[in-house]
């Protein structure tokens, strides 16, 4: 078990090092920062002095080592566009994205799993057919279109919900939250629905097909033959056996929700990291882009690590202790 954790941790570190290298390469290949900082009018001595000041005259690997050392401490330098430390900028934006993503992920699981179980158990009911048909729409419509449609219906025509922004927020230390104000909560509704819809239908369809698969197995038939109640057969035995693939996909999808909140945040002008990233790309704000890249990768790596640990919790067959296989009696 411990060896396994260490091995997974080492792999994670390798992945992060590779991502760090890519992020670092952005500085070298997406425009020359010195040219950008000096503006139109400069001479060679000014250029050399600035390069020395920024450490850009040193060999490549020293620069990379510096970048990594700073990045590990959360220091990604100063934003070209905003002229403020990147970590401060991101820290401002992080709560908005995380709140939106976590609510969307929660919705996707809390609604998608029961719907998947229902459509798996009651295959032929009209409600199942309805869910499946609607889910096709969820899978096939692009996110921005769903967002715009929701805005049109609920913000423009009905005027019930705000069409952009985060509403009023409350400050908790450096974290800002929209959970405690009415306008904050109202502002969350449309973006979180937009963001979760694709994942919700994906999870529903996954849970459904896994349920159908598991319900055909011998141990479910045998559980019925043992006279267990339907509730125990369906939720204790069948659902739990669908969890390994569901955890895998749900974990990856949580990462995807955080990473691809970009589109939703743009549609709803949600002041999160996605919007920040889009703005940074238009301004070629490389420090912010590099930091964003590293942060999102870090989130993915952490989620994958947690998913691997969850496998262990769910499936006893993966646990290393398999010393006690008995002989034939």
């Amino acid at each position: 078990m411990i060896a396994y954790i260490i091995q997974r941790l080492l792999q994670s570190v390798l992945v992060m090092a590779a991502v760090g290298f890519v992020a670092f390469s952005l500085f070298a290949y997406v425009g020359d920062p010195i040219t950008i900082m000096l503006g139109q009018d400069y001479n060679e001595t000014e250029r050399a002095r600035l390069a020395a000041q920024l450490g850009l005259d040193r060999p490549f690997y020293v620069q990379f080592a510096n970048f990594v050392a700073n990045a590990v401490q959360g220091d990604f330098g100063i934003s070209y566009r905003l002229a403020r430390p990147v970590n401060a900028v991101i820290r401002e934006r992080l709560p908005a994205t995380l709140e939106l993503s976590l609510i969307a992920a929660f919705l996707a699981l809390a609604v998608g799993v029961p719907m998947g179980v229902y459509t798996g158990l009651k295959r032929d009911s009209w409600l199942s057919r309805f869910f499946l048909t609607v889910s096709l729409i969820g899978v096939s419509l692009p996110t921005f279109l769903i967002g715009i449609l929701l805005i049109l219906v609920f913000a423009v025509i009905l005027g019930w919900l705000p069409s952009f922004g985060r509403g009023e927020t409350v400050q908790l230390g450096w974290w800002t939250t929209g959970f405690f104000t009415k306008s904050g909560l109202k502002a969350l509704i449309l973006p979180s629905i937009t963001l979760c819809l694709f994942q919700l239908t994906l999870i529903m369809r996954l849970v459904r097909s896994e349920m159908l698969e598991v319900l055909r197995t011998d141990y479910i038939k045998f559980a019925r033959a043992r006279g267990l109640r339907d509730r125990a057969v369906h939720f204790r035995h069948a659902l739990r056996n669908t969890l390994v693939p569901v955890i895998t996909i749900a974990g990856l999808q949580l990462g995807a929700i955080i990473a691809f909140a970009i589109i939703t945040e743009t549609v709803f002008q949600w002041p999160g990291m996605g919007l920040l990233f889009i703005q940074s790309v238009s301004a070629t704000d490389i420090p912010v882009m590099a930091a964003y890249l590293c942060l999102i990768s870090f989130v993915f790596v952490v989620i994958n690590f947690v998913v691997d640990l969850l496998y262990y919790a769910v499936d006893p067959r993966l646990r290393v202790d398999r010393g006690a296989v008995g002989g034939h009696g």
Partner: protein
């Protein structure tokens, strides 16, 4: 033993018919099957795959896979009809009054729960016991089925047991609420030959000790000969012959049974070559009119091609074969 039954049988199946509606018409997988099992008795049900023996077992405990359904006849347990009960009533009978053992012990147990958890939940579903009581009962059962170190093994997961050991756990699960009848569907087919005999002996001994009758579904005549009191031979969804196991093996009356016995090698007699029944069992979509066995039967005559024989008494056995049709005067005797 069976000729003078004072009491009602434990299980009585009358004219059972199982159908599978398909797009191309209805398939009759079990057709007009009647038999009974007395308390404590072992009835072997033997036949080729597709003869309907497993479906008969599944129909009795109400676990036919849809779209399969009971289309006629009745199943009585201790003289109460159970084939028309609600799903919830049937569930309470399963495990409590009729236990089941399936073919493949490797897949019968839920891999995510310890054998103890699975025993305890089954015990607590059917018996009014506390969790601690259920657990000590579970340990006792594991000990009874011959699992060494039961106190320790109870907290192990199925993958930590060998195939034979898992089938022992499955038998413990089938017996844990003291059912009156065990339906064992090919309980040894998936096991190593060296372990088959152990499991059969164990099953038989435990059922005797617990006073449970057994319906032993198998295609292995050897297992039947060793274990069963009576045997029913099934062919194409019907019972071809039924009778005390010694009689059926020594003096089979139905030509199909005769062929079946001839195809078993015997060690004590030199047989030039094993007898083989020509042809194959018909598909459910193409069961011939008259006796289903008539195209393969060496003794076929005109009547077999038109009329379907019911079971007719032949000394101690019953055989569904016109060879044993009573003469007209005898027939009126009833």
């Amino acid at each position: 033993m069976t000729s003078t039954r004072a009491n009602r049988p434990l299980l009585e199946v009358r004219n059972l018919r199982v159908e599978f509606p398909t797009r191309r018409g209805t398939l009759v997988a079990v057709d007009d099957v009647s038999f009974h099992i007395d308390a404590g008795e072992v009835l072997g049900v033997v036949g080729e795959s597709g003869a309907g023996k497993s479906l008969t077992g599944a129909a009795i405990i109400g676990l036919l896979e849809p779209p399969g359904r009971i289309a006629g006849g009745e199943v009585r347990l201790e003289d109460k009809r159970i084939d028309n009960l609600s799903a919830e009533h049937l569930r309470r009978i399963r495990g409590r009054q009729i236990g089941a053992v399936f073919q493949d012990p490797l897949t019968s147990l839920d891999p995510l729960f310890t054998v103890g958890q699975q025993l305890v939940e089954t015990i607590m579903t059917h018996l009014d016991l506390s969790e601690a009581q259920a657990r000590s009962r579970a340990i006792e059962l594991l000990r009874e089925v011959g699992i060494p170190g039961a106190e320790r093994r109870i907290d192990h997961y199925p993958h930590q047991f060998s195939g034979g050991m898992r089938q022992r756990v499955v038998i413990a699960l089938a017996l844990c609420a003291q059912p009156r009848l065990i339906i064992a569907d090919e309980p040894t087919t998936a096991l190593d030959v060296s372990i088959q005999a152990q499991i059969i002996t164990l099953l038989k001994r435990l059922c005797r000790e617990h006073g449970a009758a057994v319906m032993l579904v198998t295609h292995d005549m050897g297992v039947i000969a060793e274990t069963a009191d009576r045997v029913a031979v099934m062919y194409a969804g019907r019972i071809a012959e039924i009778g005390p196991v010694g009689e059926v093996i020594r003096k089979p009356r139905h030509p199909y049974t005769i062929g079946l016995m001839g195809s078993i090698p015997k060690l004590d007699r030199a047989v030039a070559r094993l007898v083989q029944i020509e042809g194959a069992m018909p598909r459910l979509t193409a069961i011939p009119t008259g006796c289903a066995f008539n195209p393969r039967c060496p003794k076929v005559f005109e009547r077999c091609r038109h009329e379907r024989p019911d079971l007719m008494p032949v000394e101690t056995n019953h055989a569904a074969c016109w060879l044993h049709a009573p003469t007209l005067t005898e027939a009126t005797r009833g």
